[in-house]
Assembly symmetry: C2
Homo-oligomer: 152 residues x 2
């Protein structure tokens, strides 16, 4: 999870909402990603999608049946779906996302036996650290906005 | 929808499950995609994801608020999520997907007011044609398997 946090910090450094993700197979990181939605202007460039794509390329397979995915924020529907599609075995996530999270907050897409795959999930891993990254990021944005208003 | 079917045929021609998609803005196709999961060995390479990525690049924006998406099969959770994330206005789809469809079959992620965006959906557009493509594809696979068994 520390490596996912490191990825999230990389996102913050370039002004993106700090969300980071790594995919691990046999104890080795085979995929990394951090949120790049604004820089890429691509709605699909979430941390999890980028990490899964890199893991698929590394493993030369769209199936990742023994993989573990670590992500700093609860996955959205798109990323939950990508986790199902790639048959990832386990997901560990940090902060809950009450607005768009679909792995426990609004619903749990990863534990719905109507789909052809279910995922073992561990919530709230290093939750405080993962949440703090997001809080700091949004507080800085609010401070910047206040400062620019004062200048006007 | 005819253009989405044309994309699905391209997938079939290269041995992929025939699913095709186009994204339209102001009456113009700005994104195209067809399923390439097997060729790419990438679990995220669904028709909708590829079409949305192309549309984002064309429009130079992750937001596609006036876009219409046409797809031959009911979207899965990943693609439903990508549609929400890109703020697409309308979705038209062909065949229902009772196993993994999340726009009417198992649930409706595009009409859930807990998310920050909802999508207007028209189901079963050219349903017979879209479904026939899939039926033909899987029948051919079964025939090939039978033939190879007879050879053994």
């Amino acid at each position: 999870m520390k490596e996912a946090i490191y990825e999230a910090q990389k996102a913050a450094e370039v002004g993106e909402v700090p969300i980071g993700c790594v995919v691990v197979v046999d104890g080795k990181i085979v995929g990394r990603g951090h949120n790049l939605r604004e820089h890429s202007q691509d709605a699909t460039m979430h941390a999890e999608i980028l990490a899964i794509q890199e893991a698929n390329a590394f493993c030369k397979s769209w199936r990742l049946p023994e993989a573990q995915l670590f992500v700093t924020l609860e996955p959205c529907p798109m990323c939950s779906g990508a986790i199902l599609n790639s048959r990832i075995e386990r997901v560990y996530y940090g902060a809950m996302d009450p607005k768009a999270g679909t792995v426990g907050s609004l619903m749990n897409l990863l534990d719905d036996n109507r789909f052809n795959h279910q995922v073992i999930v561990e919530k709230c891993c290093m939750e405080a650290e993962c949440g703090q990254l997001l809080k700091d990021f949004f507080r800085n944005i609010r401070l910047k906005k206040k400062k620019s208003k004062r200048k006007d």
